[in-house]
Point group: C2
Chain length 703, copies 2
């Protein structure tokens, strides 16, 4: 257990601001605590001697030693209360009171001070603006919500208190139970990363779930969650997925809108399963809380009803799972056990007159097939298959096999008791076949992500000092937007660039061209001219002998087009064989929550029109860089589709990693695009570069 364990397992809980006034939050919390908490409850209020039959203390100094304090006093005295608690040695504090950063102005200042006090005194503060916390093992309900939680193995955090009250009422009806529940409030001190770490260490928590509107420290969260998800699954609803939703979230909790793609990448890299709705959150959680991991992706479907069997098969087809292909032995055994009209291939249809015995036998035979990694029991109501008996039979078969099984006993009232029986044995029942399969799918996806090893990012031997000088030079000349003249930044990090240089006189241009094998490309270099081709500022395939004249011509055209343009010079560059190559883009921009976000895609229409790109949070290891290249839809083009020679994919993957190292080393780089990075059969070359630097961010020297 982590350092927060005392938060969830106090012996004495004080309610600072306790009252017996009807409708007051301070009364609701006290009532909830009194109703079920195993330990001592201490009301604190200077104007009461007794509250709801409990002795009340005027302040913390006069009260007995307190492990956890729940603060519900008015906003302007919260800070004093917290200071007093710290002085009295109480480290764990939940601030219920609202009126902090969410109201702006004074509230924001108050929140800043609260953070300061907490840091100085090393306090664990939940909130402010929190519904409170719960922990079912001790029966502690330190919230002002109308609902208590059932006991179970799911730990649950939420950035919305209302979300907790809405979910608990429903979960109680569904028989879903919880270990700990936390309303995160404004997350001034403790946030999602702290609770993920805490519950990752808690042997009683089987699944961590949450509703979040933002993640404060994306990199820290990825690191914590990646560790935790090796053992404990995390399922999150991260709202504000859409533009409209992000705007709504920002006006709700003041969540800063990081980009949805950053969250998508970051949560995936963290090994977090993402749910898109409340229903999906619990569909996943119920499967993850009670079932073993599937050993393979083959699903067996056992049913007494053809139509629902087909629907289930469709759901498997939509998922990352596949229908198990039965062994000959299984098929023979099923054929022997079932009537002729039954279907002994997957989905197994034991047909409408199947009784408990036949159904049970079909399930048993399926579970014994080595190709079956998980199973769905799908039933429609018939007179000969009472659901209560079916539930008992399923439990009997499941107990002797280590295979995850979910059920879909279709129907309403007649399924309720059976559902309860199944749940008590850890088997989730779903009304809809597609939801049953999505539960199994969550198990398999969690298994895959927990088994994936993320290596330390590779550290290339680079010339960090040279790169720092390029950025320093730009800073000195007050230049935030750099281009092709800064290609030595890439060279310093070992990213191949074509032979050539930027020259500012025609003689030097010819010298450079003569040192290059074959014809050259020449381009005007000017921060003021963007459409270089349109003004005749680009010449392709110039022989060395013609370079002098070409130089003069290019510069003349540029001056003619824009007399006041700053002309840095002309780039003279090796002419690459682009026909055999594919243009790619490797880029980076910084996300407010997750930091450097790498992007990969094929150039031109693929990025601009088809938006076929992949994104990851840097730094990335080799496996992750390779995923980026593999997952774009157009990836087969790089691998040599349509009779082309395959491009140097390893070179692309290495470039992604080198860029990852560059942007991690230099926080002053805000945005960077290598566009195109040309990938040919024999290697890659960065042809053009744009980057934006932050003039106020100083890059440190090499450590």
């Amino acid at each position: 257990m982590g350092r927060l364990s005392t938060l969830f397992d106090p012996e004495t809980v004080a309610v600072v601001g306790a009252t017996d006034r009807e409708g007051a939050v301070g009364r609701a919390i006290l009532e909830n605590l009194k109703a079920g908490f195993d330990g001592e409850v201490v009301p604190i209020n200077p104007s009461r001697d007794e509250v709801l039959g409990l002795e009340c203390y005027e302040d913390v100094q006069h009260a007995p030693p307190i492990d956890l304090a729940v603060v519900v006093v008015p906003p302007d005295i919260v800070l004093d209360s917290v200071r007093e608690l710290a002085a009295a040695g109480t480290d764990d504090i939940v601030v219920i009171t609202a009126g902090f950063a969410e109201t702006g102005g004074d509230g924001a200042e108050r929140e800043r001070q609260l953070r300061e006090i907490a840091t100085e005194n090393d306090l664990n503060v939940v909130g402010p603006n929190s519904l409170g916390i719960m922990s079912t093992p001790t029966g502690m309900n330190a919230t002002f919500g109308p609902e208590d939680a059932r006991s179970g193995s799911i730990s649950f955090m939420s950035q919305s208190g209302a979300f907790i009250t809405a979910v608990l009422d429903w979960a109680n009806e569904q028989g879903i139970g919880f270990q700990d529940v936390v309303s995160l409030g404004n997350k001034t001190v403790l946030d999602e990363t702290d609770f993920v770490r805490e519950w990752g260490d808690d042997p009683e928590t089987d699944v961590i779930i949450g509703y979040l509107e933002d993640i404060d420290d994306g990199q820290g969260f990825i690191e914590a969650a990646r560790e935790v998800t090796a053992e404990t699954p995390i399922v999150l609803v991260k709202s504000g997925r859409t533009d409209a939703g992000a705007q709504a979230a920002s006006s709700h909790t003041g969540a800063i809108a990081g980009s949805e793609r950053a969250y998508e990448a970051g949560l995936e890299q963290a090994g977090v399963l993402r749910a898109r709705s409340v229903q999906e959150l619990f569909d996943y959680a119920r499967a993850l809380a009670g079932l073993p991991e599937p050993e393979s992706d083959g699903v067996a479907v056992v049913t007494n009803a053809g139509g629902p069997g087909v629907l289930t098969t469709d759901a498997v087809g939509d998922s990352t799972l596949e229908m198990a292909s039965f062994t000959d032995e299984t098929i023979d055994r099923l054929a022997a056990a079932m009537p002729d009209e039954a279907n002994v291939y997957n989905p197994i249809d034991a047909i409408g007159d199947a009784d408990i015995e036949r159904f049970g036998e079909a399930l048993e035979i399926a579970l014994e097939d080595p190709n079956v990694g998980s199973a769905v029991v799908v039933a429609a109501p018939t007179a000969v298959l009472p659901y209560d008996d079916l539930a008992e039979k399923v439990i009997e078969k499941v107990e002797t096999h280590d295979t995850p099984v979910v059920t879909c006993l279709m129907g309403g009232k007649r399924a309720r008791d059976a559902e309860t029986t199944l749940r008590e044995s850890g088997i989730p029942n779903y009304f809809d076949p597609s939801r049953a399969v999505s539960g199994l799918d969550a198990l398999a996806r969690y298994r895959d992500s927990s088994e994936r090893t993320i290596d330390e990012p590779r550290t290339f031997d680079v010339d960090r000092e040279r790169a720092r000088e390029v950025l320093e030079r730009a800073r000195r000349r007050n230049d935030n937007r750099l281009g092709v003249e800064s290609m030595d930044l890439l060279e310093a990090y070992g990213i191949p660039t074509p032979q050539g240089e930027i020259v500012d006189d025609p003689d030097r241009a010819r010298e450079v061209a003569e040192s290059i094998d074959g014809d050259v490309v020449m381009k005007i270099v000017s921060p003021d001219i963007t459409h270089k081709s349109d003004i005749g500022g680009v010449k392709v395939g110039v022989a060395a002998a013609d370079v002098y004249d070409a130089y003069e011509d290019i510069v003349a055209r540029a001056r003619n087009y824009q007399p006041d343009a700053t002309i840095t010079g002309v780039q003279v560059q090796e002419l690459l064989d682009l026909d055999a190559s594919t243009e790619t883009i490797v880029g980076m921009n910084r996300d407010p929550q997750f930091g450097p976000l790498l992007l990969f895609g094929l150039g031109g229409i693929f990025v601009e029109i088809l938006e076929d790109t992949s994104v990851r949070v840097a730094p990335v290891d080799e496996g992750t860089a390779r995923e980026m290249v593999d997952e774009i839809q157009a990836a087969p083009l790089l691998r040599g589709a349509r009779g082309r020679e395959p491009a140097d994919v390893d070179g692309v993957v290495e470039t992604v990693q080198r860029l990852s190292q560059l942007v991690t080393d230099f926080p002053s780089i805000l945005e960077l695009d290598i566009n195109p990075l040309v990938a040919g059969p024999d290697g890659v070359q960065a042809i053009d570069l744009r980057l934006t630097v932050d003039p106020d961010e100083l890059d440190t020297e090499e450590p």
Copy 2:
């Protein structure tokens, strides 16, 4: 009402094969009928005088006149029973008995005869292999299922009887009611198209829903459904969507696997909303059954809880709807009505202490905003917002506005009574915000599809006789696979092809080249040589003077490569400027259910790697052809993205329509690909053609 109205509204129902034997289907049906049917129930069984207290007749001749007969006799006497019923003047017959086509062999022959008898006597036969039918207005439950249906305005057909029993139990619990229910069974006579037409004419049916594994006659279904959906929404679960599911469906009911893309296109063209799961089916149906159409796509969200408000906003972002942008007046009114901390922009957050009055006022102000087309009420449980009172308040506000409103009163038990109250006023309540929004989205999508006019396909002035001759010629030489030598098929239908012809001597080759302005392309034409370029069988940019030699060379290379190849000749064709053009593919193949399926996409990687294509069932009108071109992801390339001159999109759209006419006129064309159809700024040209013809299908002369 259509001709099937008597099926659902009989005065006398006979059970042919009625019995009082426990567990028998013939008893279950009789019991269900006795329990609620308004009319007379007549048991027929030669070995009984009385069944379950009703007078039993030995056969149909001796019974009183019967409107509807439910046949449950053993399979081998079903045909005799049906003949007797026909003779006695009973036209409406439900055959429950199984053992027909689904068992193959004798059963298939029995089914063929059943169809014959029905056709001869003009009978309305449901089944065989059916669970039966229900109609709630008369309380008729002529099924052997364990559940009765509640009364309501949804009519429901299912190709799986088990699906009906599974759904009814659940629907009863949810308070969802039905008008008519039909278990389609083997669909020997009456099928989905018949019931769609019937219910389309039924003023009591507000929504038609169904579970289907196949559609027998795709074109007939599209025609019927398109008419019906102008007035009555249809929502279908069509299973077998995935490859695995299609295989499962085929072994379940012997459904022939038409392609999923054909169903997708056909159902969309028919105006049918497609649900992917049972839950979605009813989420849509509940909204469509009770709510008016939204006048615009703007959604107002009214909530007392920030988090759920954000989730709802995300769901709107995922849908085809959008968050309504409130007028200044609305914002002023909301600001005046609500506390400072409330959010008066959309989503409206009346905050946690909102009582019924404040909540109701917020809803009313939102409903009066002209930009609001629909609204979602989202609530989390609080002490000051009892759900029962909230339900009453929502109903009060909804009654004075003609705007569709759905609710999402989050929670479990505490929401149940309110849910019932809302349902009784036609307002569906959903547990999950995303499901509530999907209900509204279904309304808007239905509105759009019912408002879309589909014109008569344009009839071009074509040379049908010339096209017929091309196909006839191929048939005479026993050639099923035609290629570029049949380009006159396209010319006959007014699809532009490049200048040129196929020649079989070098002098003629030169003559043709001389008649063409500029250089030419030359290609070997041989049914036996597929990779023409690889063997040197293609020459691009040949000057007229060099054509003679090029001809000799091409033929020599072909002979050298494959001495026994049939060489039709050499194609001499105008050289097009491909740099300014885009390659597209326009194709067709025939689907077993839907007939000719048109395909459009950009050529090469777009079709082969990115699978970026659009599909429609022919014939198509201009609007549909234009949709095909517009909906591919790469469409901006045709419209002149990235600085290119726009291609002749109208020419592409016209080519799609001309091809639609061609393949509709000639059923012998099984498959056809124009690949590429080159689309440039000045027009389109079909460069290459492949088609497969059915030698046994004779094309009729022009009518």
